[in-house]
Amino acid sequence: MTKADIIENVYENVGISKKESAKIVETVFEIIKEKLETGENVKISGFGNFTLRDKDPRRGRNPQTGDEIEISARRVLTFRPSQVLKRMLNN
């Protein structure tokens, strides 16, 4: 499934034009991205939570050469599906 399929779904299920469907779907993902970019977690009830995690710097190795390197501190995005979604996948 891609964004195009989601747009198609919106178009078929809601009485709005394809152009409007596309605009709404694009806007939804853009706002989620903007919020995460500013460091805010995003919670979608019934679906799951997008959570940002700050990682400390750590020592790692280049798996190809074996050289020890410093992995810098970073912020990463994780997703935890809601209990409802987990249950739906396993019903």
Binding site: V25, I31, L36, K43, R75, L77, F79, K86, L89, N90
Partner: protein, 96 residues
């Protein structure tokens, strides 16, 4: 940010759609994604990330408190992988 805040923000930006309709549409978006995942279909949102369902086999586990062996039934687990653009936008190092 919660789903209701998301609906509010989307309806402010897309003025041609009412807030009431926006709420319905946001639910359609996530429900269609849930339906795809139930079908074990992979979802890829360019610039954001991808979702996929993996099957976990049944295995034996232990209750860490009592040490009793328990059977853990097979199950489906959902994984999300942030896309390249999203990873870069989220990472602090890019902000400074």
């Amino acid at each position: 940010m919660t789903k209701s805040k998301l609906v509010k923000m989307v309806s402010e930006r897309v003025s041609e759609i009412t807030k009431k309709d926006t709420k319905v549409i946001v639910d359609v978006i996530f429900n269609s994604m849930i339906d795809a995942l139930i079908r074990e279909e992979r979802i890829e949102i360019r610039g954001f990330g991808s979702f996929r369902v993996k099957n976990r086999d049944a295995r034996c586990g232990r209750n860490p408190k009592t040490g009793v062996v328990v059977n853990i039934p097979k199950k489906k687990t959902l994984f999300f992988k942030a896309g390249k653009e999203m990873k870069e936008r989220v990472d602090l190092r890019k902000a400074d």
